[in-house]
């Protein structure tokens, strides 16, 4: 029993890592611009598709394809900010919301046109399985967990320890005061979208390697990403990390002990229960 719980926890950590990466992107964008960036999931999956394409059609090694996909992610993030959200920056919030929905459909359509409707799995060639006691950990899953931890730590260090990272926080907390500190508030959204989209692409690659990418998967992940934000507490970085991990492990344990058909139901039931007790989320502040 204990072994089984540990096993499912390890499994949950991998998918939890994906949720955390998606949620970190969403929470930074939301914190700075107040936008519910729904297209984030679809763009993330575009990154996964792109990696698949580079590996299978172009014959690139996976380790070379990943940096190309991440760089493309940064570029896409910049374009999304400049072309989609900047024009509605000073308009009513509903406009940005509609742009986000339209962008989601557009990116989903592009994914479908470019990569087809078949589900794809990024071939990594990592097939070894490690055993620790009674727990089996596939090599790939371990690397995904490690990569997610590295990215999350890098993001935390960036936000807490660098001037640009602190400027991002400052703009989220008080835009006018940030201007008075000399922050160029026009460049901050660009940086935020670049980084967020790269994190999303990393998550997309993980999904493509661990499971499979197919049309509509991205939308599912963005909904989970927002669920994680609400579970962890809106606008809280540690909240997004804790929320994503909790959601991943809950899903995995539910799938292992009850039924994988019900894993989403159980994950959302847990979320509803948490919010009934702590409406501000696990690490959210009471307003």
């Amino acid at each position: 029993m204990l072994i089984e719980i540990l096993q499912q926890t390890i499994n949950g950590l991998a998918i939890g890592g994906v949720y955390v990466l998606i949620a970190l992107g969403l929470t930074t964008v939301f914190g700075i611009l107040g936008i519910a960036h729904f297209a984030h999931g679809s763009i993330s999956m575009f990154g996964g598709y792109l990696t698949f394409f580079l590996v299978t059609s172009q014959g690139l090694p996976v380790l070379a394809a990943i940096p190309v996909a991440l760089a493309t992610g940064i570029l896409l993030g910049l374009l999304v900010e400049m072309l989609a959200y900047r024009p509605v920056r000073h308009a009513n919030h509903i406009n940005a919301f509609i742009v986000a929905l339209g962008l989601t459909m557009m990116v989903e359509g592009i994914n479908l046109q470019l990569f087809g409707h078949e589900q794809v799995v990024i071939p990594t060639g990592l097939s070894r399985v490690f055993r620790f006691g009674g727990i089996t950990v596939p090599e790939l899953r371990l690397y995904v967990i490690i990569a997610a931890i590295v990215l999350v730590v890098a993001m935390m260090v960036f936000v807490e320890r660098t001037k640009t990272g602190q400027a991002i926080r400052a703009v989220a907390e008080n835009r006018d005061a940030a201007i008075l500190m000399g922050v160029n508030v026009k460049s901050i959204p660009l940086i935020v979208f670049g980084i967020s989209t790269a994190l999303g692409v990393a998550a997309g690659i993980m999904v493509g390697a661990l499971f499979a990418i197919a049309p509509g998967i991205g939308e599912g992940f963005v909904v989970k990403g927002f669920a994680v934000l609400i579970l962890g507490g809106l606008g809280s970085f540690p909240g997004a990390i804790l929320g994503g991990t909790v959601l991943g492990i809950t899903e995995s344990i539910a799938a292992g002990f009850i039924s994988s058909a019900y894993k989403d139901v159980i994950a959302f039931v847990v979320m509803i229960l948490v919010l009934l007790i702590r409406p501000q989320g696990l690490l959210g502040r009471t307003p």
Partner: protein
């Protein structure tokens, strides 16, 4: 050093500053006094690029900075300590202070940080606390220290006494006097006219978006109109 010529500020169709001209010389402390809504704060915000200037010009050290973007104004050497303190509530006291030095690239930032905490010992005590947890007076001290961290050539203070208890107001003004004694050029907006006139070298009296009187602070203080309307005599 700072010269405003006939500047106008509007919010949409409504003009709130109808052409004011203000000069601040290096090392001087100038106060803008007047009733609430007279356009004093709007004038400061226009200098800092927070609201657009719809007419006239702003010159700083001979350079035209009319409608320059906010960060360019800071880089030029103008820093504002905003109304209502506006600290970054969830960032620590240290992080707030470091944000003050955002545009600086020199190596003296740590030394300045230590200097600020010598000047305001309470900030050293609270250095790792979230700024939002500080009392109003402590937040004002933090906002002042944060503004000084930029090593500005002129420091603008917008209503530093607003919403503070009388005892704290007195200590805020002691601090401002200390900063003035350090040789800092100051442009101060303040509703507490008596305090402002005691501190400043010169003052401008605002009424309904216009300057109706200007002169040395001492003379303004004893002017019958100012005394009657603003000093409560």
């Amino acid at each position: 050093m700072l010269a405003l010529r006939d500047i106008r500020v509007s919010y949409g169709a409504i003009e709130v500053v109808h052409g004011v001209s203000i000069d601040v010389a290096a090392g001087e402390c100038v106060a803008l006094i007047g009733a609430n809504g007279a356009g004093k704060s709007s004038t400061l915000k226009a200098i800092c690029g927070l609201v657009p200037v719809s007419g006239g010009s702003v010159q700083f050290e001979g350079r035209d900075i009319t409608n320059a973007s906010g960060h360019a104004v800071v880089q030029a050497g103008i820093t504002m300590c905003p109304e209502g303190r506006q600290v970054f509530p969830q960032m620590s006291v240290i992080q707030n202070l470091r944000m003050g030095a955002y545009t600086r690239t020199d190596k003296d930032q740590d030394a300045d940080l230590a200097r600020m905490m010598d000047m305001f010992p309470i900030l050293r005590e609270r250095q790792s606390q979230a700024a939002g947890k500080l009392s109003g007076g402590e937040q004002e001290m933090l906002a002042i220290a944060r503004a000084l961290m930029a090593r500005p050539r002129i420091c603008l203070f917008d209503e530093p006494s607003l919403g503070l208890a009388p005892k704290i107001v007195a200590s805020v003004f002691e601090t401002l006097a200390q900063i003035k004694a350090m040789g800092m050029t100051i442009l101060l907006v303040e509703q507490n006219s008596m305090m402002a006139l005691n501190l400043a070298d010169r003052a401008y009296l605002f009424e309904a978006g216009k300057i109706v009187m200007a002169g040395p602070a001492k003379e303004m203080k004893s002017h019958p109109d100012v005394m009657r309307a603003y000093l409560g005599h």
